[in-house]
Assembly symmetry: D2
Homo-oligomer: 294 residues x 4
């Protein structure tokens, strides 16, 4: 059934990236070029992450119409960590109207470190992409459910985002995360003091749930599908299932753009891609002879 | 490499079950016969288990020399629950000498329900297969490690037991388990009152760890490999790796035999198999014309 | 004002014990006789109690009409421990009708140790004077209040029972009690498993509250007034205030009589008094020449 | 015995305040003058404090040589709250050398609110008189003791400071304090994140202990004795017992002077006294005709 969608598009020659073989070739070249790069280092704030093999290197691509390309360690499981933030935000957007959600949280960059103990001038966390904001968003997820059902619910949502591909849970990372989360606990108590949470929220349950969200395990391949589902307006390109509403996706992408790069982690890859491919409409207007139409 | 072992044995025609096709046929027949059986019911003590589909039905076989047969829902994940007890006991046997382990725990059937609040006449839990005993065994696993590393350690051991096949963790089941574990908490406190645990044990950590062990997720196929590793004296038939020492396996199998059937769950299948196949030496001595040599 | 009550009775020569000087003399004699007794020992189940000076010895008397006599270490503070049980039961009787209270708890002696992990055949704790029952009774005290207000409420009630005399709280005993309460936690979890508690009870809060009730500090003198308030049908002899309803007192005294002596602690003194004084109507019918009319 | 000290001094006419009757008269006048003052309000951050009767008004005086004067509600119990900070600091000074203590804590005013989430440039709390500092000081009190013994130890110390006068514990205030302590928990976690505490400190135990210290109950009279013990170089004027070392007292008084007035609470009374009495040497040098030699 899924294949019919792909095949139909293939027959109509109407894929987003028409010449996929050349595109794959270009991606592979980038992969090999960047493989030599040994800068950067693994996260060290919890022992489980510090032991991660720094040699792992993967590129996974899933287009909005479901074409895929994978190279490198694409099925090594790793935990979502802060990448869970936009995904939970999108889910919460979908359950409530944006006005309700933003009664509790701002939409502006904080201009500060991702875990600063600061609230905005209305005593709300600045946005859902910093730790304080993500903890608050966690408190909005199905508050009436017990903790088992609540996690189950998010896990099923993430699996639908990933079109059924690898989504699991790392209990060791969760346990380690929870034990070394002093700053996050400080943020949680600071927000409770400032009455940031909705009524009847149990802070310890929220903190636990937040650490669980950070400990969801994915692969390079399955996150590519999640990203494609967002890029595709909430419809998973593999299953064609509507996972979230386009309006919620739009709000999420907008905040990812303005607030999501708090540590510039994506800058390097982004520049590489922009140097090589025409992604934007204005790319056609200027003279960029070396650029390729993807 | 693994295949070489299989192929060599195949060439030598030296498999434990020489006529595997007939054996498979027999197993399939049992599978279909029993499929009609609608007695029994799913566990209801936690909501996550109560929602399990009662239609799932699978048979997975892995012989000590690695021949495999699978029929039915063999890759539906489920949690180990009490099946974790012998596996943890084997691990603990392997880390200490049996005298040390049995300073803390008996080796006799309790003659009572699996979760009775009773200790034996030396004020020790009766054996590692009842809840009290399994909680105590959990307290012996790598007590010097933090909880993240300890769980990691057991998870890696179980994956080696399963020859790398499906071993994961169900966080929803764990959360649900922990919330409804009144009897287990009563057992834990009762044991602490009676000084059953080694020095410096943190009871809440032990309880958490025990619930985590029960929430390890496997499939019918991966547990078949674990069982085969035990049956094969601690060597995994898929990888030929020595996972536990033969002496530890022998002690474990012995307690599984004497104390492991506390609720007669296996009786039905056992009778079926014994009626159909010659498993025991004495089967050859008596006249059992309808029985098959497996 | 309080004195007027006493003086009026004195003028009317209508005291319960008309010849108080002789009575005091008799009591003092008992006091000095028993002082030599070195049997018995201080409680050792928590360190704070084990360090108590075993030489302390006091007799405090408060009659139902407020006559008092004190001899020995009558103002050394000690904690109520199990003596809190009838006092809390009386309070709970007063707040609800007896039918409601006894939906949750029996009224029969258990025939077992005070802290046995057993429930009666209706799966209720046997009575409010054993630990399981007292924990359950604690769960009925003002469940809608937060823990601070709830304790405040009981403390004020106990001070009214004691006519304003010494009622305080030993935080060291409470902390020690809580840390060594394995059996009580086992009882609490066992009762929760058996759905003994009313809906929405937080077990940890109840346990904490129960340990706090045991850690209320009194003196020999102030407990004599509490006892007199009970003996006087709920009216404090010092203040003439109605602290609890006579019907609640009657139910409490009845259970104290049938279930309150679980460890025979009072037997010795009881015998001494009965040997010396005419307390009961039948005492007048038989020939007991050596007995004194108190 | 204690009286001998007083009587000797009286005979020698060598009291600090030679004309005590006039001094008392002056104090009473201040008492009655200020009684009309209805500014200020009771603390509202916890319900137990918010219910305090705002009409209570008391002045208790205890001189360094034990002369006493009391007027008003001098035996109404109230909790120490932040007044516990210098007392615990003095105790910790006495147990360790100052260098050790100040490895963990600064000695400078913070120039900020008493509960700001900030550390000094060496990542230490600024001083022992703000909340962060007092929590840290609490972690230094007898860390090897269990929580019951530790609190017992401080309670006994405070009773010695107060010469045996009223020192008790308000469990309702403690329970309320703990439930509404979001900012203090935030401070605790923030300090743990920044490795402010000594090794092996259990943060939850420290927080609990800090709230217990704030919930110690005193009266106006008993605190006057505590203050006199500090003013008398660590020797209690009532018992002549050396409670703390003079060097520890000096360090404590010095920090009380520089950092202890974080909210200017004492300013009003201070001005009154300075306007009326000659306290300082320079008072004699200038012409202040209306001032009285106390």
């Amino acid at each position: 059934q899924d294949n019919i969608i792909l095949i139909t598009k293939a027959l109509k020659n109407s894929f987003i990236i028409p010449d996929f073989p050349s595109f794959r070739h270009n991606i592979d070249q980038i992969y090999w070029d960047l493989r030599a790069n040994r800068t950067g280092q693994v996260a060290t704030y919890i022992p489980q992450l510090a032991r991660m093999n720094p040699e792992y290197w993967a590129v996974s691509i899933c287009t909005v119409d479901g074409q895929r390309h994978s190279i490198g360690d694409v099925d090594v499981p790793f935990t979502l960590q802060s990448c869970s933030k936009p995904l939970t935000y999108a889910l919460v957007q979908d359950e409530y109207n944006p006005e309700y959600v933003h009664k509790y949280i701002g939409r502006e960059p904080s201009g500060r470190s991702f875990n600063e103990i600061k609230l905005d001038y209305q005593m709300k966390p600045h946005n859902p992409m910093i730790n304080a904001g993500a903890i608050l968003i966690a408190s909005l997820v199905k508050p009436q459910m017990n903790s088992a059902d609540r996690f189950d619910y998010v896990l099923k949502y993430l699996k639908r985002m990933a079109g059924g591909e690898y989504v699991s849970f790392s209990n060791p990372v969760f346990l380690s995360e929870k034990e070394t989360a002093d700053r996050n606990f400080a943020l949680g108590y600071y927000m409770r003091e400032n009455k940031c949470f909705p009524a009847n929220v149990n802070l310890m349950d929220v903190m636990d749930f937040y650490f669980q969200l950070c400990s969801v395990e994915v692969t390079s391949d399955s996150t590519a599908v999640m990203a494609a589902t967002l890029a595709n307006g909430g419809y998973c390109p593999l299953t064609d299932e509507k996972v979230i509403d386009p309006a919620s996706v739009r709000n999420t992408l907008s905040l990812m753009h303005s607030c999501g790069m708090y540590d510039w982690s994506g800058e390097f890859a982004f520049k590489e891609l922009v140097n090589r491919f025409n992604f934007h409409h204005y790319d056609n207007l200027v003279h960029t002879p070396k650029k390729v139409d993807p």
